[in-house]
Symmetry: C2
Subunit: 231 residues, 2 copies
DNA sequence: GTTAGTTTGTTAACAAATTCACAATTATAC
DNA sequence: GTATAATTGTGAATTTGTTAACAAACTAAC
């Protein structure tokens, strides 16, 4: 079937296509879209091939039906719910973005162990006690659980979410949680990502000192060459 | 050169190795470490091979020197700084985690366009006006810039960061920013990630309805055809 | 010191993802 | 209507990342 990367890109395509449509554009060619997202035109065409949506040679892709095709592919026919565990700064950021903002996919409930937070409403989303997890997940028919707690309890929370019936977990804790194979798990590890960026940033600097610039693909001789050809 | 994925995993290894060391463990074997992180033992050995650190057959890897080797590889010899642009919920979450908590790598300054925030201190990190970006980046010798603003200004901020001399950018905005080849850019797209998890969660559900389950041991039916890699 | 039983390091095979290259197709100009 | 130029769709090649398999290396037991 379709790969994770393709699904992610389809989500990106949709966002810029919506923007383009709002600006009055009706068609788009693979290389223009590729340019906006900094991927290759071939990649765009391949992804749309997976979608089953065909463009027309010499014209490109018609944005409106393409958007419908993406929505048809990515979105659930009925609205989908998610729940959030952990209302720290990160949890609030997620609520601000995903609590009820989208029609088809939204965070509909939140949980925290802090008694002061239970019963409160954050960005339109009510906070419940962990003991109500299963009940609320059943009531809201949520299929995704988001773990946004600092660390230790993550596996425990994950188990409870699985127990309650979610089919997907988005884990922001630094612990790798384990779920049964019929549950999709995605880890977003901010520390590791931050360290990675710093690592490669430093390497760039290193090559600068050596007189060589590092690119994604390898080393090149002259820095000014890239600087000028780039923009 | 070493791949991004390897760098990310080294960061993960380090975290659990530190934990193990704190618990009094002195050596670890590839398959035990692999079990903790849900990767294969071969992967672990391969990553350590890249490091240049050798274990001993029948014993495993000595945790203390391994940790030093990872630190030596991942960390800068001198402390490194990063700056944050955008003090919303997400920015606060990042500050809470990375403002001065680590010795070698920390967020040392923050920026926002809100006049009420400028001059304030958040999690020990002072907020400056965007006009001071270049000056502060130079003073703190920052090589990483983190973009945590909602959307539109992202490319502009990115350009300013590059102009000011950063070599790595961690971008949380939904816009894909473009930087010269000598700057490493990492996109963390929360919307796309959220949609991806929901998508695959739904597929899992779909197969449940079809009567096909993925199990611990493998697939009962042919879910394999349609479900791609879980991790 | 020898043997048995593990685990490492690494080569080779495999798998996934991306890009190349080009035939097929279409609009436009004339 | 035909020629021209441009763009799509996709098999093949390439690149990148992962896993299997096994020789070499080591410990421990005797």
């Amino acid at each position: 079937m379709v790969s994770e990367k393709t699904v992610e890109r389809l989500s990106l395509y949709r966002r810029v296509l919506q923007q383009l449509w709002a600006e009055g554009k009706e068609t788009i060619m693979s290389h223009d879209l590729a340019g906006l997202l900094h991927v290759t035109p071939t990649q765009v065409r391949r992804d749309f091939m997976q979608l089953g949506y065909s463009g027309v040679p010499n014209i490109g892709y018609k944005i409106r039906p393409l958007l419908e095709s993406i929505a048809n592919f990515l979105d659930s026919p009925s609205p989908q719910s998610a729940v959030l565990v952990g209302i720290g700064h990160l949890g609030l950021a997620l609520l601000a973005n995903f609590a009820g903002r989208w029609r088809q996919l939204a965070i509909r409930a939140a949980f925290d162990k802090d008694p002061n937070k239970i019963g409160q409403t954050y960005h339109g989303c009510r906070c419940y006690a962990m003991s109500e997890l299963k009940k609320v997940i059943n009531e809201t028919n949520s299929i995704v659980g988001i773990i946004a707690i600092p660390g230790d309890g993550a596996q425990n929370v994950c188990d409870q979410l699985v127990q309650a019936g979610v089919r997907g977990i988005l884990n922001f804790s630094p612990l790798r949680v384990k779920a049964p194979d019929y549950v999709f798990v995605e880890h977003v590890d901010l520390s590791a990502t931050f360290e990675k960026v710093a690592f490669f940033a430093r390497k760039m600097k290193y090559y600068e000192q050596e007189g060589n610039w590092k690119t994604e693909s390898g080393l090149i001789e002259d820095a000014n060459e890239t600087l000028t050809t780039n923009q």
